[in-house]
Symmetry: C2
Subunit: 440 residues, 2 copies
Amino acid sequence: MTNHSLARPQSGRNVPDPHLGRYAVRTAGMTASEIRALFAVASRPEVVSLAGGMPNLAALPLQTLSAQVAQIIAEDGLTALQYASAHGLPLLRDQICDVMALEGINAHPDDVVVTVGSQMGLDLVTRLFCDPGDVVVAEGPSYVGALGSFAAYQAQVVHVAMDEHGLVPEGLRAALRRAGDAGQRVKLLYTIPNFHNPAGVTLAVERREEILEICRTFDVLVVEDNPYGLLGFDGQTYPALRSLDPDNVVYLGSFSKTFASGLRVGWVLAPHAVREKLVWAMESATLCPPTLNQMIVSRYLATQDWKGQIKAFQENYRERRDAMLSALEQYLPPGCTWTKPDGGFYVWVTVPEGVDTKAMLPRAVTARVAYASGTGFSTDGFGSRQMRLSYCYPPPERIREGVRRLAAVLESEMDLARTFGSVGSHRIPGPQTPWPDAVR
Amino acid sequence: MTNHSLARPQSGRNVPDPHLGRYAVRTAGMTASEIRALFAVASRPEVVSLAGGMPNLAALPLQTLSAQVAQIIAEDGLTALQYASAHGLPLLRDQICDVMALEGINAHPDDVVVTVGSQMGLDLVTRLFCDPGDVVVAEGPSYVGALGSFAAYQAQVVHVAMDEHGLVPEGLRAALRRAGDAGQRVKLLYTIPNFHNPAGVTLAVERREEILEICRTFDVLVVEDNPYGLLGFDGQTYPALRSLDPDNVVYLGSFSKTFASGLRVGWVLAPHAVREKLVWAMESATLCPPTLNQMIVSRYLATQDWKGQIKAFQENYRERRDAMLSALEQYLPPGCTWTKPDGGFYVWVTVPEGVDTKAMLPRAVTARVAYASGTGFSTDGFGSRQMRLSYCYPPPERIREGVRRLAAVLESEMDLARTFGSVGSHRIPGPQTPWPDAVR
């Protein structure tokens, strides 16, 4: 094989983009996400990365999976390596209904569409519903990948505050009223009810009916994104919004956190009419999801103790969550607050006034610890005093060491702030959706 | 496992869609593609399907692949089953440059973006360049999946006629001039230069520079879709448009026809600045392409005689092409004409005046043969006297039998037409881009 990287000249570097006048309007704000830039930096082995959201797959039965996949290709390869329907394999869609039943969802397999990760589900739902200028209401902060999809379809995001019980119904009602008064068309509520990314909180069960009622009243479709719902640390689950309001909720599911992210198998459960359009959108986006990957997930669900495997994941992540919370308690300077997740991957930390988490990040990486600074999770500038710490991937002792390093960086930032005032280079004025410091 | 299909009521069937007022404008023309509807009908075993474009994978070394994939998961499963970069695996991108070198392309691996099939590449390129109302110029007829992507971004398609040497330069120049005069903004030329789907023709080498020159003059970016380029029946290849004009061509490649469609691994080769935006678009669409699938393709390319395998595919498809052409010659009634592909999957047939291929299709399926009627391949109504016959999948004797059945249906349609006039129920007035009957 030729080494193209060395042998070939890199033409076109460092020259203005000749296509600049040709791009669609939607590309105007197109920049690499902060999270993505971090992945590169934080991948150095000496850095403890509390930045990424990579699941810890060490507990997977690789030898068994290896044998199963070998069998699929040897015995059924002409199917596994061939195109299939855009809708997804029927058997897998049926099994997905079993998975969703764990959270109280009673669904028909016809209404499930298999997607290439739930990110694609989110992208296609946005494609179906959002014209440029339409509003999507989302928690503030929200999942950075969702913000990217909304931007791609030129939807405006309006953030609504959470507290330790998740999205605040009064805040949602007020935001929808304001949007209506301003003549805006609110199409979707995008929400992650369970073990929120990045906030680490869960929507209280007693708020769920109210949230759904508000959305019905304001004629807003609910998009429920639930990748972490089965990763409650006490094995607890919460009733899916979809289970409470089948006709006004589009549900996004994923095997990335409960099985294997690299297979990119997710799904959408949608009201019937929406599902038909989703399949069309799926065809235009990628013809069909990879057949082999669907067969791997299906075989795994049919033959392995997948509920036991999820239990193992829960225990793994609980141990790491415990390590992080005790390290935060032990090391973080006074004035810092943080959420206490009972499932999922993330803790959301608020630091004292005067510290800018984005400005601090290069110094943290120099001190060999990485995190995701808060501003990447909002479209309104909120998050300069926040950061997301993920405990999903590193072993507990690395998590403790990472938090120890982070605490030292924070101490010296706070010293600087006390001496010279704010150390942020680009402080953003008041956030529109302040994160309540009370959440700890 | 619960049998959800039987146990659960199908709520919401046969009621008006309650979300009707909520959809984005782009969904207005959203209907299942004609091709898709056909797949369902034509999948009955007694029907000879000349409709689909499924590659024939029988020549693949399944046992070897099975062992390779098993090894990937057993030895490198924590990588294969994990998220990876949105850009694609570096080794695979390097190998893709080797593949493209066969058609004269000198590319840097940095400028390759791996996609979930080249359909996704097409969708993302359209996302980057097309605002609603922008014009895409494409051959008439054109690939139905491309038309779906253009519709999803509300781009208008202007078709330009082909002859037996592919896209006609004067037609392209005239179309671009007309669009300019009408104040339309033409963003892309979408073209399939080699073994066209559905037309079965190849753009003459001596036209390629001229086409590129016209596009530079009119400031139009060229999107070169090349899934079949390595499937020339004499092992011949043609210089890629990208090899002749690296700065103004976005190239779409695929392993679906040269290796395995069900893995959904394709790629885009783009000018450097465009490539950066493509990675961003990729992230918002699906985060990253499936890692395992990329490793399977990469291992295959590194260890197997992939060029020998492509040769085997060429021979397989040539044999089928020969069977189809000789059967058409033997059975089709006078007045029918067809293209004679020297590579790829498809023959494009024109039937005599008075026969409507779409109206005839149900009668053909009753006679146990299926094809793709011509109107699905254009946005301007062209194709009511055309059909696409694919010879890629069925064995030669089935192809001959299918053409024999088709000829009988055609004969009786032509009888009817002679007796009662046109038998089409929905004849569309004159096509804007007539398919030249001279191509045979």
